[in-house]
Each structure stands twice: as structure tokens, then as C-alpha cells.
């Protein structure tokens, strides 16, 4: 008999007034007892609606059932069949819009906490890792190159390695992980977890070459010349966008990419870090996505007293995960919704000392279906801040498209792919993740990496 409690087991978290001063992980994870109790809420539906909501099609009822039985390693094996990065997904997937949104238990009450269970299983596996059941598969001798070690690249590489390919990942930065290490903060996704997942991939035989910028150090064509038979491009999001308003070059204006990279990848929050960062007292973060929430919460932890999210639409349109918004609110981030910056102001030394905003109201729905914000006349005011973080998206990086002949991109510069396979206009070249879609989520990128791995396998088998 299933546990019919209408609510999910609560996730233990660090108290807001404690955690907004440290970079340790916010959510602490289920205990064994909580996990088993939560897993027992699953009705094990025959048609598995939750699976249809998962971009990588994890057999959710099967793994949840194993958890309910207390067989956590078996649960891990079920997840691992489909996902190379379970500890990451369990933490950063927007489950409420995916698997959990389809859960039958969600009709009357809360859905099963699938994400929290996934995280529990992955963490349990890491903590109790027995002998590797996944000994390296028989190598088929075919080489595949993967560009970028973010979520799409890691997934594609992992799946191909499991199929027996010799996979080499080329990473531009000095550390593997892409956005998982430079973008998503420690308190949401501990870097040790990412490191462990990457070590896992290496044990499958995946080779990772850091400090290799494809398009500069090597080109896609040179990868083929070097004997790679297929290439997957998962180079991720690119150049940060700015608003084109006056004052964006003032000292103290950061792109979210720069602010987060300094904080996370370069560990600027640590006393002994060599990388400097401004410890601003009052910070405005412009934008309403997950990246904006991450930037705001980092700024708070770096010692800012007042941190504002300035977003031109209302709370309802905000693209960030609900949990991230709630966590941010609990930590004291101030939401200035229906506000839009028009100018950033500076002092005589050209450091930011304010941001001029205008109030907005919602008008007719635009092409995205969201009601578009319209300025309210004469509603300008100045918010006193000493740093501004622009978190309004990115446009694709030009380095690969400009050095790869015959690789078609759209008007924005995103790589054009034929279909789900991720096949580009070049034979043997596949692409996925933000390089194709523009800024999106970790799990969508993973889904793309997975589809491409399958397509590359078919391509190379028939070649």
C-alpha cells in the first residue's frame, strides 16, 4: 500500500539567515528514512507519465520502487542507464516542470519528490560506492571528439563511451564541467559532486583535454584529420548580452557570466583566491532567470547588504525555477518586478553609484505568449547601488562557426541542426545544448547530448 500523505517529505535545508553568509550547499538531502518514505508515495502507474516529462527518459517508477525497497544501488543502476550525471540532475533540474509536473500524485496534493530522490540515490552511491560495476566496455576502436565539457558534452561522451567509442573531450577552460563549474554556484551544486561525476566518466575511458579552444587551438577539420570520425559540438552559451543603455561600461557593471566565473570557477569568495571581485554593498541583478538568482545569491554571500532582482515582467512570468526564487526570497533578496533599467549612473571615478529604472505594467501577450511589459510614463526613479550584474542572456560564441566551413548557423548565430539527432549541415558533425538553442537548462542540454550520442552511434555503424 502506497504512502498516501498528500505532501512531499520536506527537504532539510540550511536556515536562510545562516546560509546567506556561506557558500556551502543550501539543501542538505534526504535521510535514508525520508527517502524510503517518499518513494513509497509512488503509485507505480502503468503508463508512467513522469517518464514522458524527462528529457533523458529515466525509468522513474522503476528507480523509485528500488528506493522504496531500500535497494539504493539498484536504484542508481536504473538512473545511470539513462543519465551520466544523476547527482547533478537531482540538484539542478526543473523537476516541477518536467517529471514531477506529470505525476498523478500531483493532481490531489504534491507530486512525488522525484528530484530529491534522484539526488539521494546519486549521493548514496557516491558515499557508498562499491566496486565499479561499470567496468569499461569493449572498445570498438572508433574515435569521437566532443567539444565542451558542460552538460551536453559530458552526457554525449558518457553515452558514447558506454557504447565502446574512444571519446576525447576538448575543453577551453582549465577545468572540466562547463557551466556546472563556472556558472552554477557551489551552494547549489558543490564542485566536488561535479568532479566525482567527471571522474566517473574518466573511469569509462573518456579522455579530457583542457586548455583546448576549438576554433583557435584546433579546428573541427583538424579533429577529423587527427582521426576522429565524428564530432559533437557542445560549446555552450557565448557572449553575454548587455542592454545597450548608458553606463554599461562603468566599473562595477558585470555580466552574470563574469561575476559567476570569478566567484565559482576562480573561487573569488575564498580569502586566499588570487582572482579579485568587487564586494559591493548594494547590488542590482538585472534579469529573472536561474542565472540571475545565482548571481543575486552569490552577491549576498559575498557580503552585500541589499541585493535587488530587477525584472521587467511580473513574478508569474519569471523564468527561474520556483525553488530558486523561493530560496532567494528567504535569503533576503529583494524582488523589483515590473521594473526596467534605463541607465546606470556612476561617480567621478566612474564606479557605479545607481541604476535608473522605470516602472512597467503588463500589456498584451507577445509572441512568446507572455504579456509584454510596457513602460509607465514618468515613473523613473533611481535605486542606489554600487554594482550591477547583467543577467539577460547570451548570444552564441563565434569561434567555432567562424572557423568551420559549411557549418550553418541561424541569424542569431546558433548552430542549425536537422532534427533531434543534432546533425548539423556538416556530415559527421553534431551539436546540442546552448550552442544550438541559446541559453536553456542543464537537462535540456543533457537530453540533446544523449540524442546526439545515439545518432552518432548509428552514423558510425553505417559508415
Amino acid at each position: 500500500m502506497a504512502n498516501m500523505a498528500p505532501k512531499k517529505n520536506e527537504m532539510p535545508v540550511q536556515a536562510p539567515e545562516v546560509r546567506n553568509k556561506n557558500f556551502s550547499e543550501v539543501a542538505l538531502g534526504y535521510t535514508k528514512e525520508q527517502a524510503v518514505d517518499e518513494a513509497q508515495r509512488c503509485l507505480n502507474c502503468k503508463n508512467k507519465p513522469c517518464v514522458s516529462g524527462c528529457p533523458v527518459s529515466i525509468d522513474i517508477p522503476e528507480f523509485v520502487e528500488k528506493v522504496a525497497q531500500g535497494d539504493f544501488e539498484a536504484a542508481y543502476e536504473v538512473i545511470y542507464r539513462q543519465s551520466s550525471l544523476p547527482a547533478v540532475c537531482g540538484r539542478v533540474c526543473p523537476q516541477e516542470r518536467q517529471c514531477e509536473s506529470k505525476c498523478v500524485r500531483g493532481i490531489k496534493g504534491e507530486p512525488v519528490a522525484i528530484g530529491r530522490l534522484e539526488r539521494f540515490v546519486a549521493d548514496w552511491h557516491m558515499a557508498n560506492e562499491h566496486e565499479k560495476s561499470k567496468s569499461a566496455n569493449l572498445q570498438n576502436g572508433k574515435k569521437v571528439a566532443v567539444i565542451g565539457s558542460g552538460p551536453s558534452g559530458l552526457t554525449c561522451a558518457g553515452d558514447l563511451a558506454k557504447m565502446g567509442y574512444s571519446v576525447t573531450i576538448f575543453e577551453a577552460l582549465h577545468t572540466a564541467g562547463g557551466v556546472l563549474v563556472y556558472g552554477i554556484p557551489e551552494f547549489r551544486l558543490p564542485k566536488d559532486i561535479v568532479k566525482r561525476e567527471i571522474e566517473n566518466l574518466k573511469s569509462l575511458g573518456v579522455e579530457i583535454v583542457t586548455n583546448a579552444v576549438i576554433g583557435k587551438t584546433l579546428t573541427v577539420d583538424e579533429l577529423f584529420e587527427a582521426g576522429f570520425e565524428a564530432v559533437f559540438i557542445g560549446s555552450g552559451a557565448g557572449l553575454p548580452r548587455f542592454m545597450n543603455i548608458p553606463g554599461e561600461s562603468l566599473n562595477g557593471v558585470y555580466s552574470a557570466n563574469e561575476f559567476l566565473t570569478r566567484t565559482n570557477l576562480m573561487k573569488a569568495y575564498k580569502e586566499d583566491s588570487q582572482t579579485p571581485i568587487m564586494h559591493a554593498k548594494r547590488v542590482a541583478v538585472v534579469g529573472g532567470g536561474n542565472v540571475a538568482m545565482d548571481a543575486a545569491r552569490c552577491a549576498k554571500r559575498l557580503g552585500a547588504e541589499d541585493v535587488y532582482i530587477v525584472y521587467r515582467r511580473s513574478m508569474d512570468e519569471m523564468p527561474a525555477r520556483r525553488e530558486e526564487v523561493e530560496h532567494a526570497e528567504e535569503e533576503g533578496i529583494i524582488f523589483k518586478t515590473l521594473n526596467n533599467p534605463v541607465e546606470i549612473l556612476g561617480n567621478e571615478q566612474n564606479f557605479v553609484n545607481g541604476i535608473k529604472c522605470v516602472r512597467m505594467e503588463l500589456g498584451e501577450p507577445d509572441e512568446s505568449g507572455r504579456r509584454s511589459p510596457v513602460e509607465i510614463k514618468d515613473s523613473e526613479y533611481v535605486l542606489d547601488v554600487d554594482a550591477v550584474i547583467m543577467s539577460i542572456g547570451t548570444s552564441p560564441n563565434p569561434l567555432i562557426r567562424s572557423t568551420t566551413e559549411g557549418l550553418d548557423t541561424d541569424r542569431r548565430g546558433c548552430i542549425i541542426t536537422k532534427d533531434e539527432s543534432g546533425l548539423t549541415s556538416r556530415a559527421g558533425v553534431y551539436a546540442g545544448g546552448d550552442a544550438v538553442t541559446g541559453a536553456a537548462t542543464v537537462i535540456l542540454a543533457m537530453g540533446a547530448g544523449k540524442s546526439s550520442a545515439k545518432a552518432i552511434d548509428e552514423y558510425l555503424k553505417n559508415k
Binding site: Y182, S249, Y254, N257, R262, S273
Partner: protein
């Protein structure tokens, strides 16, 4: 890891290192840069490529000790290793199709001006080099410049070596004596490039400058290296580092380059007091 093959002290605060980095060496061109991290805890700093040897698989960097990271780098010797060394980044300088070019180098910027002068010469241009330093003790790469230039002028602020004056004075003299240049290339401190660009605008000579702003990844991700060029936002790492000197907003670039000056100074002085004297000899 990247091995330091050779190390030379060019003047009290400027060091030359030859680094074993075959992949970078294979692709490197004049005007491009690399990003390095000295050790696992280090920050990422960009340095322009001073020379390369494709066959030997080495890349030469020349740097001035100005902060904690360059000090740490300078503490290493031949045979030691650098943790990370990535490149070549940025676009290469345009070096072909010119008849006569004036290459202006200032201070440690000469390290970058030299490979450009050399590449121009190899591509058939007549090269006039004008190099400037604060004083005699800081002169670097004199012989190298002489070997690739048809005319060579050296100036010092205090007149302790070569002609007394600024590079702009020397350039004006050359033009007034009848020299006609297709292009001027100026590489050095921002303030020098600003005034060279002002002069050549007045003289009507196309001018290219090499920008070296603060950056982290160097591949077009962080946006820290943004500049205003002709009223538009540009990223030095992917759109540059070379830009039309008549369009760059130098004042803004100078302000942006000072963002971390205070932090840098504190950290640097904690690390070492030896080089204080030479800190601003660029």
C-alpha cells in the same frame, strides 16, 4: 603542465620566457595572445605572444612584474612548469599588403610590437620602428627591432638613451620629414596609444592599436574585456585585440583597467616590496 624552456631577464622588471606549448606554437600569429595560470590556485592572465617557434614547439612571452600573478610567474625558472597555457586567442594582426608602416612600441608593449614589426617585414613592408622607454635601464629588444626595421628610432623620457622625448614627437618628426605611411601600429600603455591615435588622426594616417584589457576566459564568455569602439560594444578577446585606434574610447578603457587597482596593490605589496620602484615603467 607546460614547461618553461628558457628564461631571460630583459630589464629589472621585465622577463622573457620560452614556453613549451606545441599546439599553441603551431597556430600562433603576430597579434594573438595566450592566457595562463601559474598554479592551481592562480588567476587567469592574458599575455600577448612575443614570438613562436613552430618546429621547436615553443611560444615566447614577455611580461612585466606588475602584480601578484606576474611576480609568482617571475619566481619560476627554466625547467619549472606552468599549470595552464591556452591559445592562441584573439585575431591575428593584419600584416600583409602594406608598403610602408610605422610600428610604435612603448615600454613592455615593445614585446608585442616586435613580432608585428617582424611579420610586416616578412610580408614585404618597409618598416620604421619607433620605440620609447622611460629611461636607459628599461630598454628592451633593441637589437631585435633593428634587425627587422628599415629605420629605427629610440626615445627615452629623460634622454638617458636615444633621443629625449615621446614616441609621438618622433613619429611627428618622421612624417614632417616626408615619410608617408600606409598605416601606423601602436602598442604600449593606453595613454601612449591614445596620444599616438590623436596625432595620426590629425595627420590622417590609419592607425591600429592592440588592446589588453582585464579578461578571464579569453574566449568570449565573460564579457569583462568589453570596450567601446566606434560607439559599439566590442569584446577584445574575440573581436580584437587589434582595433582601429581612431575609434577606440581610450578614456573608458583606462578607467576600466583600474577596477581592481586597489585590491591588486594590496595583494602585491603583501607579496613583495622589491619591485615597487619599477611598477610604472610601462
Amino acid at each position: 603542465m607546460f614547461r618553461i624552456k628558457e628564461k631571460y631577464k630583459l630589464n629589472p622588471s621585465v622577463t622573457k620566457m620560452v614556453i613549451e606549448a606545441p599546439l599553441v606554437a603551431k597556430k600562433a600569429q603576430a597579434g594573438q595572445f595566450i592566457i595562463l595560470r601559474v598554479d592551481d590556485e592562480g588567476e587567469r592572465i592574458p599575455l600577448t605572444i612575443a614570438d613562436y617557434d613552430r618546429n621547436g614547439g615553443t611560444v615566447t612571452i614577455i611580461f612585466q612584474v606588475v602584480g601578484a600573478t606576474t611576480k609568482k610567474l617571475n619566481d619560476l625558472d627554466a625547467g619549472d612548469f606552468i599549470c595552464d597555457f591556452v591559445g592562441p586567442l584573439g585575431k591575428a594582426s593584419e600584416v600583409s599588403g602594406f608598403k610602408k608602416v610605422a610600428v610604435i612600441g612603448g615600454g613592455v608593449g615593445c614585446a608585442i610590437a616586435y613580432p608585428t614589426a617582424k611579420a610586416l617585414k616578412e610580408n614585404g613592408a618597409e618598416v620604421h620602428a619607433v620605440v620609447g622607454f622611460r629611461n636607459r635601464d628599461l630598454v628592451i629588444l633593441e637589437e631585435e627591432f633593428k634587425s627587422v626595421s628599415d629605420k629605427f628610432v629610440i626615445v627615452t623620457d629623460d634622454g638617458s638613451y636615444g633621443e629625449k622625448g615621446l614616441v609621438t614627437d618622433a613619429l611627428r618628426n618622421l612624417v614632417e620629414s616626408g615619410e608617408k605611411y600606409d598605416e601606423v601600429i601602436a602598442i604600449g600603455p593606453l595613454i601612449m596609444m591614445k596620444f599616438v591615435a590623436l596625432l595620426t588622426k590629425e595627420l590622417g594616417i590609419k592607425t591600429v592599436v592592440s588592446m589588453n584589457p582585464i579578461m578571464i576566459d579569453g574566449t568570449g564568455m565573460c564579457g569583462g574585456c568589453r570596450l567601446t569602439v566606434g560607439g559599439e560594444m566590442k569584446f577584445a578577446c574575440v573581436d580584437g585585440p587589434d582595433f582601429d585606434g581612431h575609434l577606440v574610447d581610450f578614456d573608458e578603457a583606462m578607467r576600466r583597467s583600474s577596477i581592481y587597482k586597489e585590491t591588486e596593490r594590496h595583494r602585491y605589496e603583501e607579496g613583495c616590496n622589491l619591485f615597487k620602484e619599477d611598477k610604472n615603467n610601462g
